[in-house]
Symmetry: D2
Subunit: 337 residues, 4 copies
C-alpha cells in the first residue's frame, strides 16, 4: 500500500516537532511538506531532527501542498490562524487534522465567548469531528476534518466519561484541578515561562477563564446527554511535559473503589491507550507515550479521579496520529507503540 502523503503546517513549535518524530516512525505516512513562516531547514529549527529528516520549511501555500499530492495536513497553527488556512485545503480535497482549538467547539457563540473573536468558518465547523477516539471513534473513519482535542480536556473527559455516562456523579460543580508541564504553553518566549521564573515554582493561571473549559463541558455533555458544568483550574509545573489532573465529583449514590475499577475497566475495554490502574499514576509513567493513565479513589464520599498523560503526545501529536490512523484505516496503534 502506498504511503499517505502528509504535510505538517506550522513545524516550528513543540507539537510540530513531536508530530514529525512520530510520523518518521510511521510505516504508512510520508511527510511531503512542512510549512513555517521561518524559512529554514527543519533541523535548524529543531536540532534533534538532525540526520533524521532532510527537509526545508516552506511558506504555507494550498496550491503547493496540492501539487505535492498532499492527502492530509496536520495543522499545528495558532487558533484563529487555523480557520483561515484550513478551508482552502479542504476545498482542494486535502483532509485536515487540526491541532488548534478552531474546530473543537460546535457552537460559534461559545467559541466567540471564550476566544473573544467571531468564528470564521461555520461551514466546515459543521462537519468537523472532535478527535477523541475513545469517545467519538465511530465518526473518524474517512473524516475530512478532525478537530484534535486539547491536552487538558482529554484527561478530564476520559477521566470522567465512565461516571458521566452512567450518571454516577452529579453533573454540576465537578472540580478539575490540572497540573501541566511548561511545553503546554508553547515555544514563544514569554516572562512567565522564562526558565528562572517558572523553574522551581508552582502557580495557577487562568483560574476560571481557561478556554478548555467549554471543550470539556461539550464532550461530557455529549456523553451525559445533558449539560455538564465544571470548575477547571490549570497549574504550571516546573517540568517539560506531562499533565496530571485530579478530579473531584459528588457521586449520586454510594460507590466503592472496587466498583469504580470495574466500571472503568469495562468502559475502556479494548481501548489501546487508556490504562486503568489501581496504583496511583505519575506523569512520568506516560512520558513519551500515547497512554492516558487513570486511577479512581473514593475519599470521604467523594469520587477522586487521577489522570496522567504526556501533554505533547497523548495531549496533542500522539492522539493526532491515532486519529490519522483511524481516518485512513490503519491499526490505531501504528507508529505509537
Amino acid at each position: 500500500m502506498d504511503k499517505v502523503k502528509v504535510a505538517v503546517l506550522g513545524g516550528s513549535g513543540y507539537t510540530g516537532v513531536e508530530l514529525i518524530k512520530i510520523l518518521l516512525r510511521h510505516p504508512g505516512a510520508e511527510i511531503v511538506a512542512i510549512t513555517s513562516r521561518q524559512d529554514e531547514h527543519i533541523a535548524d529549527l529543531h536540532p534533534s531532527l538532525l540526520g533524521r529528516l532532510d527537509m526545508r520549511c516552506e511558506p504555507f501555500s494550498p496550491d503547493a501542498l496540492q501539487a505535492k499530492g498532499t492527502q492530509l495536513a496536520f495543522g499545528c497553527l495558532p487558533h484563529g490562524n487555523s480557520m483561515e488556512s484550513i478551508p482552502p485545503l479542504l476545498d482542494r480535497d486535502i483532509r485536515v487534522i487540526d491541532l488548534s482549538a478552531d474546530y473543537r467547539l460546535r457552537d460559534v457563540n461559545v467559541y466567540q465567548e471564550w476566544y473573544k473573536e467571531p468564528h470564521q468558518d461555520a461551514k466546515n465547523l459543521a462537519h468537523a469531528v472532535y478527535g477523541l477516539p475513545e469517545i467519538y471513534g465511530g465518526r473518524l473513519a474517512g473524516a475530512k476534518l478532525v478537530a484534535n482535542p486539547g491536552c487538558y480536556p482529554q484527561t478530564a473527559i476520559l477521566g470522567l466519561a465512565p461516571l458521566v455516562a452512567n450518571k454516577l456523579i452529579e453533573l454540576t460543580g465537578i472540580i478539575i484541578d490540572s497540573k501541566s508541564g511548561v511545553s503546554g504553553a508553547g515555544r514563544t518566549p514569554k516572562l512567565n515561562v522564562h526558565f528562572p521564573e517558572c523553574n522551581e515554582s508552582v502557580s495557577a493561571y487562568a483560574v476560571g477563564t481557561h478556554r478548555h473549559t467549554p471543550e470539556i463541558e461539550q464532550a461530557l455533555g455529549d456523553i451525559a446527554g445533558e449539560p455538564v458544568s465544571v470548575i477547571f483550574t490549570p497549574h504550571l509545573m516546573p517540568m517539560d511535559r506531562g499533565i496530571f489532573s485530579t478530579i473531584y465529583a459528588n457521586p449520586t449514590r454510594a460507590v466503592t473503589e472496587s466498583e469504580l475499577v470495574e466500571l472503568y475497566r469495562g468502559y475502556f475495554a479494548g481501548q489501546s491507550f487508556v490504562r486503568v490502574r489501581t496504583s496511583l499514576p505519575a506523569t512520568k509513567d506516560t512520558v513519551g507515550t500515547n497512554f492516558l493513565d487513570l486511577c479512581t479513589k473514593v475519599v470521604r464520599g467523594k469520587v477522586v479521579v487521577l489522570a496522567a498523560e504526556d501533554n505533547l503526545i497523548r495531549g496533542a501529536s500522539g492522539v493526532a496520529v491515532q486519529n490519522f490512523n483511524r481516518v485512513f484505516g490503519f491499526d490505531e496503534r501504528t507508529g505509537l507503540m
Copy 2:
C-alpha cells in the same frame, strides 16, 4: 538582654538546617547544642553551614542540655520519637517547640487512628499550644510546649480561616488540592524521591489517608466552633521547596471576589506574614521567606482559594522561630525578614 539559649534536636534533616540558618541571624537566640545520632560536625552533615557554625552534633541527653543552660529546644525529630524525648526536657524546665506531629492533635484517639500507634504523653499534650500564630497567637506567650504546625495544614487553615470564621462556606466537602516540593518528604533517601524517579514528574500520594487531614480539621473546627471536614490530596512536585494549595469550597451565599479580598484583608490585618493578594501567587514568590500568600477567586459559584508558602520556612522552621519570638516576647518578625 541576654540571648536565649536554644538547642536543636535532630540537626541532620532539612528542617534542622533551615532552623539553624534562621537562628544564626536571630539577635536574641544562641545555639548551644545540636543533637543527632550522627556524631559529626554539623558542617559535615550540611556543607552549606561551613564557616557559619562551628559545632559538633551531640547525642541527645536531657541532662547535658540542661547543663548547657538550654532554655528552649526545637524538636526536629520524627513523630513518635518526639513524644519520648520531650517529657524529660519539660521536666527540666526546658521549653520545647516541637516540629513533629506528636503534640498537634488534642485527641489521643484521633492520633492513634491516623498514626497507627498509641500516644505516649497525654500529660503534656494537654497543655501543648498549637503554634499557628495567626490563629492561636494569644496562647503562645510563655508557652512551655508548642506543637509547631504542619506544612500543608498552614496553607489550608489560613486559606480557609476567614471563610470558616464567618460561616461563608459549607463546612463539609471542602477540597484541598495541595502540591509540594520534594524536601517535604525529608532527607532519607527512598525510591519515590530518588532524583530520576520524581524529577520531571507530578504524582499524587496518600490520597485520602494523609495525616495532615485531622490537623486541618481540628484547627478549622476551632475556628468554626463546629466540626469541619475536608478532602485533602497531596501531590509531589519536581522542585526543592514550596507548597501550593488550591482550595475549593461551596459558599453558603453568593459572594464576590472584591468582597472576599476585603474579608481576607480585614481578617489578617496586622499579621506580619500573611500576604493577601489580588494577583495569582506562585510558590517562588514565597521561597526563602516566612510569608504565606493568599488569593481568592469565585469560579462558577465556588470559592477558590490559592495559597503558597515555602514548606521549610513558613511550613516548618520559620514559623517555629515566629513561635519562639512570641514565646519569649520578641517582635514576631525577628530573624525572619
Copy 3:
C-alpha cells in the same frame, strides 16, 4: 526470519527498562525472559511498561534461560556480579552483550587497579569485543561476548578518535570535562542523588579516580597505536539524562575549525549515529535517541571538542541494541530510529 530470542538480566534498573522499551519496538527481537532479584511483574517495577509488556521477572537461572531458547542475554547487572553470571551462559551457547564494566578492560591488572577486586573470568575476557561499533565494528558480527561501552567513554573516545587516529593532538594531558544527568548513577536511592540534594546543584565527583578513565585510555590507545593518557572529571547535573563532554587537547600543529569539520565528517562518513555539527550541541538534541553529537572548535590554539549524548540510550541500552544488530546481521539502525 524468526525473531532472535533475548533475555534481559537485571531488569529493575534504568538501563534495563530502556533496553526493554527499545526491544519492544525491534522487529527482530523477542524478549523471552527478564531476570531480577525482585520477584515482581516488570510493570510493577516500571509502571511505564504497563500495557506494553506482560511479563514477570524471574530469578537468574542459566538453565531456565536455555530452556526458553534464549539466544542472547543483555546483562544489566552490577560489575562483579556480571562476571559471575555470564560464564554459565556462554557455556550454554547463549551470547551476551554485557552492559557492566566487567569485560571492557583487556588487562586484568588494570581491572584490579581501578575496581579494587581481582577479575574472575580471564578466559572469556580474552575473546570479549569492546562494543563501540564506530571503532570496533568489524569485530562485532557473530561475537559471543560484547562488552558494551561505558556512557562517558563513548563521548570521549568518539570525540577524540579522528584527532588521535591522525596524531593531530598530543597524546598526554588530554582533558575531558564531563557533565552527566543523574540516571547515570543508577536506581538505588542514596543521599547524593536524593532529589533535594542534587536538584538545582552542580558538583564534581570521583575527581581523578573515576573508573571510566582506563576504558577511555584503552580505546584511544588502540586508535593511536600508542599509549594515551587523559584527565577525566565527571560532574553531576540536575537533570534526568544526558552527557555533555567538553574536551581540551593540544594540537601538534596549527589547525583550523573548517579543517576539523572536514576531518570529522570524513572519519565518521557512513556512520548512522554520529552527527558532526557546526552548531554547538545540547544534550537535549540527543535525548531519546542513539545519536552522539560532535562539534569541534579551536580556541587560542587548543582544540575543543563538544560531545553530547543520551547516557541511557547511546550511552548504554541504545548502543547495546546497535551491537545486537551487528552481532546478528540486522541493519544497525533497526529499532533505533
Copy 4:
C-alpha cells in the same frame, strides 16, 4: 550613625531584586530610589517583594537621585547603558558600584575588541576600582566608582590566585570550564532560556568568545605581574542559580594536594567569604550566600581547582554589598551573613 542613602538603578532584573533583598536586611543602608523604564511598583515587578518594600520605580534622573540625597547608586543596567548613566552621577558626587561590565576592563581597546563598541567614558574608567575585595580590597575604602566583578571571573580569579601569585602554574593555556545556572542570562525572555528549551539540557555557549575572558586575564595578570591567558568555556545548566568552575592548570613543579590546601588556606586567611575545603564543593552549598567555595586536587600531574558560588549573590549582588561595606567602612560581612 545615619544610614547610607542608596539607589538601585535598573531594578527589574535578577541582580536588582537580589540586591534589594540584601539591602533590606542591611542595618547601614536605606534604599531611597529604584529606577526602571518600567513605571511600576517594585512588588509588581517582583512579587517576592510584596510586603517588604513599598516603593514605586522611577525613571532614571541624576537630579532626582541627588535631590533624594543618594550617596551611592548600585548600577544594575546593561553594559553600554551604564557608561552613559554613571558619569552624571559621579559629577553629582554620588558614588557608584556598577554591576555591568563597563568599568571592568582598564584598556579601552580591549573593551572595544570584546564588546564591539567604543568605550565612552575613559575619564572615569581611569579611577574605577575593580571590586574583587579579596584581591583589590585595599583600594576600595572611599572609592568613587567600583566596577563590580563578573560572576564567572570571580570563580576563576579566586580559584587561581594562590597559584598564579606563587607562580606555581604555567600562565598560558589555563582551562576554565564553567557551568552556570540560567539566571546568569538575565530576565529577558529568549528562546535559548525558554523553559522547555534549556530545562533538562546541558550545552556550551560562546565557546572561545565569552566577554569574561579578558576580565579574568586582566586580574590574573595583575596578580602574576605578567600576562596570563586562559581558555574559558561557559556552559548552561538546568537550574536557577549557581556557578561551578573546573579549572585545569599545569604546575611548574610537582605539587601535592596537602601543599595546595595549605597554600590556599594561607592565601585566603582572614577572608570572610572564601571557604577552602577538602571536600568537593557543590553549588548548592553556596546558594543564597556570599561564599565562594574552593577545593584543589592534583590529577595525573595537573592541578584541578573546583570553585562554586551563587552567581546572583557572590557573583553579583552580594559582592556588590561586600564592596559597599568596604567603601563606607562597615564590617565586610554586614547584611551578608
